[in-house]
């Protein structure tokens, strides 16, 4: 089975693409692959509240969901607004993860 780092950078304000991409992540998890999703840039908006159904399914399915702390700060989004299961990370941790053998990255 493969291991993916999927990066969502656009978020729902840019249109339906982010939900489609998170749906891709759900399909990968449900197929048995290991998935880490990173929400970055305006993509951090998908980590807020409970409006993002694919993200909820992802968390329920056991995917790791990260949100970029720098992007949160830039956008004045407080961690208390994040839905449970979404963890703020720094780019150092992202780079470490990407460099792990076998991890494939996809950026949306």
């Amino acid at each position: 089975m493969a291991e993916y780092l999927l990066v969502e950078s656009q978020g729902r304000y840019a249109g339906p693409g982010s939900q489609d991409f998170l749906g891709d992540a759900v399909r990968l998890v449900e197929s048995g692959h290991t998935v880490t999703v990173l929400l970055i840039e305006n993509g951090v908006t998908d980590g807020i509240g409970s409006v993002s159904d694919p993200l909820g399914r992802l968390i329920d399915a056991g995917a790791r969901v990260w949100v970029d702390g720098f992007s949160l700060e830039q956008r004045a989004v407080l961690a208390s607004r994040l839905r449970p299961g979404v963890r703020p990370v720094g780019m150092d941790e992202v780079a470490e993860h990407l460099l792990r053998p076998g991890v494939q990255g996809v950026w949306h």
């Binding site: 950078s9 656009q10 840039e41 150092d92 992202v94 780079a95 460099l99 991890v103 990255g105 950026w107």
Partner: protein
């Protein structure tokens, strides 16, 4: 200008291709941040710019942005300056390429030293020469 015509392409851990346009979202910021974090870990990186992203390293940008009329004395580095500093800080592990076609199409093929022009039909070589790849944005 280094055209990288006949040299062997160096292998790298990660290819970061900036396909989307600057000034439309934060993809350039993310590219700089991820590149920095990878290089600090000793990884090697190919940066490739396509489309309007080729303007990031235009020689004509100079060292600083135009003056800020509400903060006249403050200097703001251009992306060309930041690219130059990255290349000099990580001279053996960072390789920055600009698409030759996109550069010429925009009249922007005079890049700062260190940026290598590559034809788009060689892009696949970069995919083959790197273990992982990210495409940021779309042309």
């Amino acid at each position: 200008m280094d055209t990288a015509k006949s040299r062997e392409l160096p292998r790298a851990d990660v290819l970061i291709a900036i396909m989307g346009a600057p000034h439309t979202g934060d993809l350039v910021t993310s590219a700089f941040r991820l590149t920095q974090a990878l290089l600090e870990r000793g990884a090697s990186v190919h940066l490739w710019t396509c489309g309007n992203a080729t303007r990031l390293t235009q020689l004509s940008l100079g060292d600083d942005k135009p003056r800020n009329f509400v903060d006249w004395a403050r200097a703001y580095p251009t992306t060309a300056t930041l690219a130059t500093e990255l290349l000099s800080t990580f001279p053996t592990t960072l390789h920055w390429f600009a698409c030759r076609f996109c550069s010429q199409e925009r009249g922007a093929d005079a890049h700062v030293p260190g940026i290598k022009l590559r034809p788009p039909f060689k892009f696949t070589d970069h995919l083959e020469a790197t273990d992982k790849s990210f495409f940021l944005g779309v042309c």
